[in-house]
Amino acid sequence: MALLTILRSNLKSKKGNFISIFLFVFIIALSLTTIISVTEGSARRLKNACEASHIADIVSFIPEDKLSSDMIQGIKATDGISEVEILQSVVSSKVSIKGKSVDFSIYMTAYNPKQHSFQMLNTDLSGFIKDDSLQPKREEVFLPVSFHNTIHCNIGDQIQIETAEGVKNYKIARFIEEPFVGTGVMGIKEIFLNQGEMASLIDITDGKKLYANSIVNITVDKSKLSSLSAVKKSINVNTGLVSNSIYTITKEEANNYTLLFTKIIGGILSAFAVLLFVIILIVIGHTVSTGIEMDYITIGILKSQGFTSVQIRSILLMQYLAAGVVGTIIGIVSAFVTIPYVNRILLPVTGLLVGRDTRLLQSIGAMGFLLLLIAFYTYLKTGGILKVSPVRAISNGRAPIYFSNWADFSITKNLPLPLSIKMVLKEIAGNFKRYLSTILIMGILAFFTMSVTSLNQMTRSDNVDNSVGNISSDIDIYYSKDTDTALLDSIETEINQQDTIVSEFHLSNRYITVDDMEYQGHIIDRTDILKKPLKGRIPKYDNEIIITEIMSKDIGKGIGDTITLKYGNKQADYMIVGLNQYLSDAGKNFFILLSGMKRLDPKYKVSSTSYLIKDRNKTAEIVKYLQEEYKDQKYNLEIVDAYQQNKDGFHDILTAVAAITAITYVIAILFDAIVSFIICQKFFLREKRNMGIYKSVGFTSWELRGQFIIRFIIVVLIGGGVGLICNCIWNDGLMSLLLSGMGISHFTTRYSAANILVPILCISCFASLFAIIISGKISSVSPKNLIQE
């Protein structure tokens, strides 16, 4: 009862402490619950969706003419394979939606409700329709939901498919949750047609506009489920399936792509939550130490009345825990609002409708662990209570000197500085240890807001290519191998007439097996379009290859090693001469020269040309002109606004990143505001008596307020400087670690005035604001009350 009485009165009289700790813990609980629920919820949703849809363990998209019966038998005979299913599929040379060409490789398949069992989304994409019997009618198509944002299409829009018999139109009837390749980050998609429609399309495949393909669904024995990559490799060794396919992917790889972005965002927010937690601990330590100092007499009185140090420490502990528990409960409950919001942001990227799935148990567990840490740390920091001697405390005698004189600054020296500045410098130099925790907190906040700013800068689409070393173009011309070169020359002349061509190159992509593992290969005719490699050099000869750092780690080979590339039935060895960074395919890709590709396919011909023009803003206009000018050639070639397509391609990812960085920025600013307020208040409480003394000897309120404000700002700026230095040292490494899943192994922070000044200004503004508000008491309270209150 005695402890409860003291606890109740402390909570009542020190509401400020309680509220600030409550707010901090609330923010952490809200963030953590959201992160855990979104990442775990997405993974769970994906697992359930894959099980319901009977997604195979390994899926290969292969041209029908390359899939022989021997190959099928060979697959079945491979160790660990339990079932092989072949589905017919059709690929068109051109698929458009609302007149805009679709950038994905689109595989059209017959929808089988018994087999596919995909969830159908309702019209506003907020939930599922509970009708398992729904299937596309004739001239209708079901699309993965990622199309809605990526291609900006809606139910009722038309999709156009090029065939030898003209363009066929299909109405978008439903969006579905396709858990296999439905994610927005993968370049391959399955779309679903009526069985009758499929049969008609298969009948009119001509190998030019409409291609017959097979989808090979391979089910693996349960014992081999943990090593699908190894099974895929052995399938290729036995049958060459992977080398002959357009693309072969395991369920594990597909799931990784689907959840890639969620994991990256989860990683960034988790790092953020950890930093915030460190700040909480520092603030608690600061508050506890100041509290003991300020309540020295009270603690002495309690001790003289018979309270033990353990009891007094327990009261303090319970105060902070009470605030923590309340903050946790309200934070977790509030996450019910944020979770569906974040899931909605991620829907176009993952292709999964996760909704309100809340991982309560895990969140409570995580917060419980953090509260335990807070309790333990608080108990440690209250050790100062042990040193309080009752008699000494009551007679207002303090413990021995607690000021450090190691960096003393004398105000009696005849220096050309105003007295106020001398006093500010003296206070900081003489009490530097006291300001350390503030400097640390401000440093962490500055570090984090600079990191978030650098991430946001990187994701501005005009920066992305530069940031990650991607090759971009303005206008792409796609053509068949038989297209007349005179036609291509005339297009080039037209472009030059509209604007100046700055650069022209050929860049194409193929999935090629490397040491029996499939990777995305880029074939180039000019090496000067590649950015400077991270290590080594760019290939000069046809037997040289440059791979990404991430791919190098994957295959366990580096500069100087030889790797074997297989494409179709051919293979050749290449030497790794350099390591670079290139974002496509989660950073696992390589570059070879056109001459190098011809070692694998002597008949290989380029089927696209890319142009960079002087004025990128003219791209849309030029492309429109060319499409009109050469509309009679629309079956032979495709003219694409690559500049816009590139922007659109990144759009959903960049939107999601922008949203997440905005959220973290807001939270960082909130934290900054709360921390500035608490620390300012603590500073003032400590110095109130001295302020009263100074006022009594003739310092004006404004002089004293000015000193207080300047001092606080100096400390905050020192913290900002520390944060900047730490950011320069560690940000690249931290970002590379967090973004490695995306393909960025080598993040380079671009420091600019905005990057540095905006976070420091933000932090300084709050510090100044609260210093001005809190120091107002110096003006409003008489000297006597300042001293004696």
Binding site: G430, F699, S701, N785
Partner: protein, 253 residues
Amino acid sequence: MKNILLKANDLCKSFAANGLQNHVLNHINLEIYEGDFTVIMGSSGSGKSTLLYSISGMDTVTSGQVLYREKQITGMKEKKLTYLRRKDFGFIFQQMHLVSNLSVYENVTVPGYLIKGVSVKEVNQRGEQLLESVGITDLKKRLPTQISGGEQQRACIARALINQPVLLFADEPTGALNKKIGLEILDLLTCRNEEGQSILMVTHDIKAAARANRIIYIEDGNIVGEMSLPNYQKDEEAYAERQIVAWLSARGW
């Protein structure tokens, strides 16, 4: 005819706590003269410290006027009041109240640096002289927590005198000290008064009161008596104390 330094007209001071009004000073009328060593006496809770703080501008008043050299200081703008505290008034507190992170020397000289037109060198020289006059020159580099209560109070006296104030206010300057040290402090103050310093001191100590030439007795926020004494003489100290005791006893002390 002595000059009036401070005059209080119908001074009232009340405190509000939990909705209740506590009237500490009731319509006080008072004059403080130049050159006097005036003591305000009263029992605990009589309002003597409140009167000192109210009349010196260190605290606000509820109603009434305080005039310093015929200029009204009640209701004066805070900045002007501060300048008054800076130049004309000096304060000595019961609990010393030295700034804890300044050395003794810095505590003494800081108020001096505030005066425009006075060089740092001049202030430092004056500080050295004052420290010597109060006998703590060798402690000047120490922090307040490194010296005794008596030494702190000497430093406070030196600080209060750095700008050569017209009037020195002291709130029970010997209250936190033992008898021997207390007497030393009183000797310093008496010495200053003999040199012409006007002092207004609050005390409940008869020995301290015996140093004064004028005693004002306050009870329950009202001035109930005033006594004049000849200038302090060491060999007549006991007699003065007996006179004071008799006078106070007649007033219910």
